[in-house]
Amino acid sequence: MRLVRSLGARSWLIALLLAGWQALSTFRVLDPLFFPPPTKVCATLWAMLASGELGRQTGATLLRAGGGLLGGVIAGGLTSIALSVSARLRTAAEPLVAALYATPRLTLLPMVMLIFGVNETSRMALVALSVGLVIVIQVSDAVRGISRDYVDLAANYGATRAAIVRKVYLPACLPQIFTALRLSAGRALVMTITIEMLASDNGIGSMIWISWQTFATEKLYASVLAAALLGLISGPAFHWLERRFVPWAGGQA
């Protein structure tokens, strides 16, 4: 019952808009060539799902976004560790990180393609870069926020340096890492789909772009809908992961 009510509370506006759109399109107030009715869009989406095209394209996008995310987490994690260990490196890297963060990552796409070529590596590298940056910034903040008291406490009980990293620093950073992951997952999807529109022959982004160029509006809307659904799922999925791996972050510390 609660689930039904919460679903209702979340979806009445969307339902209303869709109904309005359907009516306007059916009664030709809107040109159905430009604004195909939602029923047709859904039918197209279903047909794409049935033919396997949707699965294939979504798979390609997810693979890219996931690969980029993974690469970004690993690269960002390693960089973060290096930056927390060496104060000299941290000082030198700070302006670089700030400059990269302020640059729209997409503007780097031509450069990255120049370096790696027009291939999967370039696409994933750019996604990894935008994910890695968020991780580095979040983790640096987390490390700075760790109270000296916890380090003292662990040392008082005879913890070695390695044990302090494992028992104090790493767990203290995990909540921030997961927040960064959640933020980055959405970012990685946006980045991947954008890159696919510009430089790819498969994936949801490329499907959107080809539909646009061939004026297949029903397919265009269906593809955008697929992208939106993907984004909708990624948030709760990472929330779930976070609750599993960072169980202490729920209560106040």
Partner: protein
Amino acid sequence: MRVGCSRLQVSFRASSGPVPALRDLTFRSGDGEFLTFLGPSGCGKTTLLRVLAGLLAPETGTVERVASPDDRNSSVLLVSQEHSLFPCMTASANAAFGLEMQGVARGEREARAAELLARLGCAGKERAYPGQLSMGMKQRVAVARCFLGDPAVMLMDEPFAALDCQTRMLLQQEVLDLWERDRKTVVFVTHDVDEAILLSDRILVLSEGPGTVVAEYEVPLPRPRQALLEIDGELWDLKQRILASLRVAAGVERFACVR
């Protein structure tokens, strides 16, 4: 182990210049003595414990640690008031942290932690994280960790201050029983005169900050002791004398108290 310090001086840096926290403080504990520092808030009690734990270097003066033959190790463990538990570990893992650092196997760690936590009234809370525990529960876990760490000296910074009077009495009794089994040196800090009398062998009264020792009292109570203590007769006199010296603790002449 015996701990002590001589002519200890510690200051904190502030924008207006150094603020002295402890001045010319000298004391020495006995072996296996329960020694309590009693003083008004802001007299540098916490600072003193941090110096004794080796977490803060003294400005001048020396800290002494003299090992005794029945020490199992040379560790000095502190139960602090704030940030006392690791937020990312369960109560059980927090309590067993000392054991883990000593390389005790997980099964044994958990069993010993569960046993002691149950004794201290935390049964059923083993899997809870500090964020889900009340202040009083957190303090119990911190006390459990200290006892499980089996140090040569225990330093305790007002461990019962956040507790209601009922719980405090239960915990005082448990700590008395646990301590009286083994009698490792304890340096305890409180501002509660009754608590100091109940627990200690000897009480040192600190002046208002910068803190220094202004009075010393032996507590003539036999052990084992009961937390439900009637303070009358001789103890009532002692309490009145301690209260009097606390009242004049704000800056009268120094009281030498080297044993």
